[in-house]
Symmetry: C2
Subunit: 144 residues, 2 copies
Amino acid sequence: MSDEDYMKEAIREAEQALREGEVPIGGVVVCNGRIIAKAHNLTETLTDPTAHAEMQLIGMAAEQIGGKYLDKCTLYVTVEPCPMCAAALSWAQIGKIVYGADDPKRGYSLFSPSLLHPKTIVSKGVMQEKCGSIVSDFFKNKRR
Amino acid sequence: MSDEDYMKEAIREAEQALREGEVPIGGVVVCNGRIIAKAHNLTETLTDPTAHAEMQLIGMAAEQIGGKYLDKCTLYVTVEPCPMCAAALSWAQIGKIVYGADDPKRGYSLFSPSLLHPKTIVSKGVMQEKCGSIVSDFFKNKRR
C-alpha cells in the first residue's frame, strides 16, 4: 500500500467524524505495513478537549504493540497535528508522521524549538486538497 | 483552603505514583473551592506515554463539569507541565495553573509562542522544593 492508500483510510475516518458532528480529522497508525489503529476526533462525543484523533491513536497503537514507544510506526493524519498532539507523538517517539493539509493557525510547526522527537521523520502534502477541504467545508457550514 | 493546602493534595498524588513505580507527578483540579479531580502519572500502568497527570485531570474535570471548558477551574500540579499538557490545558481553556517545581529540561515555558491559552493565569513555586525533590530523588534512585 502507498502513502495515498493509507491516507484514504485516514480520510475515511475524517468522514466518519463528520457524520458524528465532530471536527473532521482522522488518522491511522501503520506498523510493518499493517494498519494497527484507526481513529477520528471525538472531542464532542467524549466531552474531552484532548480527544484528538492522534491522542487516541497513540493509546490504541501502544496497546496493540504492548509498549509505550512507536518508533517503528508511521502515523497518517489528514491535518497537521496541533502542539498537544505533536508533543504527545514526541513522548511516543513516533517513527514517521505523514500528514495531508497544513494547519497555518494551530499547527505544531509554528512553535520552536521543535515539538517533535528529533528522530521523527515528517512527510506532508499527501492528498492535501481533499484533507483540507473536508475541514474547511465543515467550518464554513458551521458559520452559516 | 490555601494554594499550599491544594498542593499538598497534589503531592499526595505524586507520592501515590511513587508507590506504583510511576514518575512521581501529581495534581488536582479545583472548581469553586472544591477538588473535583485528583490524578497522578500513569504512563507505565496504562502503557501510554500520554497518560500524564494533567491529561487525566482534564478528562476527569470535564466529565465532572459536563463541558469541555475548564475556564472556571484551577489546576494544581507538582511540576511544570510539559508541552503536550500545556497545549492540552490550552484546548481546555483552563482558568489558572499553579505549579510547584520548574522543569528546566522539558517544561512548556521553553517554547514559543506560548503554548497556553492567552487567558490562563500562571502561578509557580508553591512548595517547589518538596515538589521537585520527589521527582529528582526518583530519578537518582532509578540510575543507582
